[in-house]
């Protein structure tokens, strides 16, 4: 083919690397703001196969042959060098799009869980998800104006976080603040890949916990909101 020469030349350079970090948290916690503060945001819509989980919500009455639904996601890019790009994906906040998470989570370097102390329980699902799949994550409490602030230990206890999981306060509107949270998440990924055995440990812990934890988490959350 005509372009053979160019192709051979290209093969000498190592392939560029793309990595991704997920930004999760409840609806309205500031995921879009966070992604926009630290990266060049791009509108992404993906057409997904309707699953049983989404069928009750997306009524297909009259369009019974419709088997896909369009989902919009927050999506950002941070170019770190000529050959290294970091992508941010805001996970869809609504419960009915949970089926999308599995594709996003596959191969993710790490995750950021955004929390709002007024509705702490909204991020339990995300924390459980990442623990169960042994995806390294950091929790960032988005400090909304007018929201009462709690000591770190209180929030940590309410979320039942492992000691090693970073917990930060952040202002998702500020670039430096969002950046620091990302750094914490990547650091977490660093330490997890270094000691791969601890991954297996945390996975085991997560599976043990999956039976009892949701209750203890919501109990703790009630303590916070009443205190």
């Amino acid at each position: 083919m005509v372009f053979g020469r160019a192709r051979r030349a290209r093969q000498n350079a190592p392939d560029p690397v793309a990595l991704k970090v997920l930004v999760a948290g409840g609806f309205g916690v500031g995921k879009t703001t966070f992604v926009g503060a630290v990266s060049e945001i791009k509108p992404l819509r993906t057409e997904e196969t309707l699953t049983e989980a989404s069928v009750p919500h997306d009524s297909t009455a009259g369009v019974e042959r419709k088997t896909t639904t369009t989902v919009a996601m927050d999506f950002g890019r941070i170019t770190l060098s000529d050959s290294l790009v970091l992508y941010l994906f805001g996970t869809p906040g609504q419960d009915r799009f949970w089926f999308l998470w599995d594709e996003l989570a596959q191969g993710a370097l790490g995750a950021v869980v955004l929390a709002d102390t007024r509705r702490l329980e909204d991020c339990f699902a995300a924390i459980d998800y990442f623990e169960r799949r042994a995806i390294p994550f950091a929790v960032a409490v988005n400090c909304f104006d007018g929201a009462q602030s709690y000591p770190e230990e209180t929030v940590r206890a309410a979320l039942d976080l492992d000691a090693g999981v970073p917990l930060l306060l952040c202002d998702a509107r500020r670039r430096e603040s969002a950046r620091d949270v990302l750094i914490a998440a990547v650091r977490m990924a660093c330490s997890t890949t270094a000691i791969s055995t601890s991954r297996a440990d945390s996975r085991r812990r997560a599976s043990q916990r999956s039976s009892g934890t949701p209750a203890s988490r919501s109990r703790a959350a009630r303590t916070v909101s009443s205190g």
């Binding site: 509108p43 993906t46 057409e47």
Partner: protein
């Protein structure tokens, strides 16, 4: 009068999957990863630059120089491409770009872009990187590079 829909409000003129001739999946078994990077296989634009054109004029006859549009059309026909294929080729020549970004830039669902990319892979006009799972990163230096890069933001 005012009730009529114009432009964007009226929705797309062409249904997205018409571009893929109705196909919802490409030839490959595994769907392309959202962050797989798409690299154009040829450095040259689809239409030869003017300088190159005059150099190569001997082969094609001087008077019968094809216009830009004609060349593009022929290229498109030869590879059985739709205009969106050309858009993809143009975008991945401009910068390092992922499957998800192509979808965002072209305002097309990811599913459509995946099918179009499969076509381009088939005729070897693009190459796609396979994202490295974090557990398989050769060493921590990449992660350190990420941290340093973020710090510099």
């Amino acid at each position: 009068m005012t009730e009529r829909w114009f432009d964007d409000a009226a929705g797309p003129v062409v249904r997205p999957y018409a571009m893929t001739r109705g196909r919802t999946r490409g030839a490959s078994d595994e769907p392309l990863d959202l962050i797989a990077l798409v690299l154009a296989e040829d450095e040259r634009p689809t239409v030869p630059a003017d300088a190159e054109k005059s150099e190569e004029a001997g082969s094609d006859g001087v008077e019968g120089q094809p216009t830009r549009a004609e060349t593009e059309e022929r290229f498109q026909y030869e590879h059985r491409l739709v205009p969106e294929h050309l858009d993809i080729l143009r975008l991945c020549r401009e910068e390092l770009i992922s499957v998800a970004e192509l979808a965002a830039a072209l305002d097309l669902p990811v599913g459509v872009v995946r099918v179009l990319l499969d076509d381009l892979l088939d005729v070897e006009l693009v190459r796609v990187t396979r994202p490295v799972p974090p557990a398989e990163l050769p060493d921590e230096s990449v992660l350190r590079e990420v941290i340093d890069g973020l710090r510099a933001l």
